[in-house]
């Protein structure tokens, strides 16, 4: 049986690991992403997602260099995203050690590129990042361009669309839940899980280990967090042990020996 994955997300702005709150990035967590990577290695996280949230397109080259440095220490799958809109840059990131490409705005603005990348590198290489934002009435909309532009499609319809364009996996985030410590937008996670047969990675809002469990119960194949994993010693070990104790099948490596209580 395929295990449920625990994913650590590193959000990079201008080469530094930053905290993300509702898609705003102010606090620097690590000056060097390699330090974060080394900790996650020791704690046996199952997968790493490295995202470039720099505001300028010119950040591409420095991000590719960060991918290369992190991948040297990353012996679990590494997914990378941000400012990927052409095949040459996609290939450069893969050559530098990335295993998967996380694409968001490209699905809306450069669909031909997405299809070409999926054909060339395989669906397993294409992770569709879907960000959801709720309006005042609480209706969930798909947001692209780092949360700034809303699409007409519902999250479920957009999930089907990205699948048709060649996505092999979905990385879900919510602008409202990001950094808000209230757990995932479970309703949207469920809507996407029910709409497509792709594995869904839930992200955005984790503050207690029980939030991870709720993501799995909503149908996610993998649960991701950023801030909490950086600020808690042995974080991913504790999280994995919590999930194992709750009956979730997780990778045996990285479970600590003593049972832990839910944080928060």
């Amino acid at each position: 049986m395929v295990k449920k994955r625990l994913v650590a997300v590193l959000i990079l702005r201008d080469g530094q690991v930053v905290q993300s709150i509702k898609f705003k990035h102010t606090n620097v967590i690590h000056a060097d992403p390699v330090h974060a990577m080394e900790a996650f290695n020791k704690w046996s996280v199952d997968e790493i997602v490295l995202l470039n949230v720099s505001r300028e397109e010119e950040s591409r080259a420095a991000f590719a260099e960060a991918v290369e440095r992190v991948s040297k220490h990353c012996f679990v799958p590494l997914a990378v995203g941000g400012w990927i809109t052409e095949v040459d840059y996609a290939r450069e990131l893969l050559t530098k050690g990335a295993d998967k490409l996380v694409l968001n705005t490209a699905f809306a603005d450069h669909p031909a590129f997405v299809e070409a990348a999926s054909k060339r590198f395989g669906k397993q290489c294409i992770v569709a990042s879907i960000d959801v934002k709720r309006d005042d009435a609480g209706v969930a909309h798909v947001a692209v361009d780092r949360g700034r532009r809303l699409l007409e499609e519902t999250p479920a319809a957009w999930a089907q669309q990205v699948r048709a364009l060649g996505a092999g996996e979905i990385f879900f985030n919510s602008v409202d839940h990001d950094g808000a410590r209230k757990g995932y937008d479970l309703e949207s996670v469920k809507a996407i899980v029910e709409a497509v047969d792709l594995p869904v990675i839930a992200f955005g809002g984790v503050f207690t280990w029980s939030h991870l469990l709720a993501g799995i119960k909503a149908g996610a194949e993998a649960v991701a967090a950023a801030n909490i994993f950086h600020y808690t010693e042995q974080a991913t070990r504790k999280a994995k042990t919590f999930l194992a104790n709750a009956g979730v099948p997780v990778r045996s490596e990285g479970q600590s020996l003593a049972p832990v209580r839910a944080a928060g």
């Binding site: 199952d46 012996f75 679990v76 893969l94 530098k96 050690g97 397993q124 993998a222």
Partner: protein, 204 residues
């Protein structure tokens, strides 16, 4: 320790494999030309992508014949993911295509089944079916990282030294004399993966 040769034949990214050997302290070099193969005691064939394209690329550069000679000379060879499938006799991927045939096995697509996701992607357990020096200090039930839509079906159970369950029970590690294959990605399977690569690099 002399360096290992990692065959570069245009099928996917080899950086992770080189990084992993560097991490465990074994030098590894890319091999792109047929003439270079004879200079290595141990060869690794990584790779992701389509089976027929892989065999065509190997044939075009005459690497296929050089690899045949390497195996015939009794030197160790490890195929990873697509590389493991190339070791087999035949694949059903996009028609029927011949592999190296060093191990008598058929490469098949996962049969459709309710609730079964293909590709088989993620961490799954390897169950040790037979002892092998490649598995030194690896426990049965260890989780490793898979990404594949086709699986290896060995003609002889003797050759399937580890198996994994994903709708069907398939051979996840194969071994026959000096030829070895791993369906998963040891370079992405953290400590267990590093141990398996170390075992291959230090086989007697």
């Amino acid at each position: 320790m002399p360096p290992l040769g990692v065959v570069d034949y245009g099928m996917g990214n080899l950086r992770s494999v080189l990084n992993a050997f560097e991490e465990i302290g074994h030098e590894a070099e890319l091999v792109t030309e047929a003439e270079a193969v004879a200079g290595y005691d141990r060869i690794v064939i990584p790779g992701v992508g389509a089976f027929s394209q892989a065999m065509a690329n190997l044939s075009r550069s005459a690497l296929d014949e050089a690899l045949d000679r390497h195996v015939a000379a009794g030197k160790p060879l490890l195929g990873i993911c697509l590389g493991m499938q190339l070791i087999c006799r035949e694949s059903d991927e996009d028609g029927t295509h011949q592999g190296f045939g060093w191990i008598d096995a058929q490469v098949r697509h996962f049969p459709p089944a309710e609730g079964l996701k293909v590709p088989h992607m993620g961490w799954n357990a390897i169950e040790i079916a037979r002892e092998n020096p490649l598995l030194r200090e690896v426990n049965s039930g260890a989780d490793v990282y898979f990404v594949h839509s086709y699986y290896v079906d060995c003609a002889s159970a003797e050759d399937a030294v580890c198996t994994t369950e994903h709708g069907v029970r398939f051979a996840s590690v194969i071994a026959k004399e000096n030829v070895f294959g791993m369906q998963f990605h040891p370079e992405k399977s953290q400590n267990i993966g590093m141990q398996l690569l170390r075992n291959f690099a230090t086989l007697h």
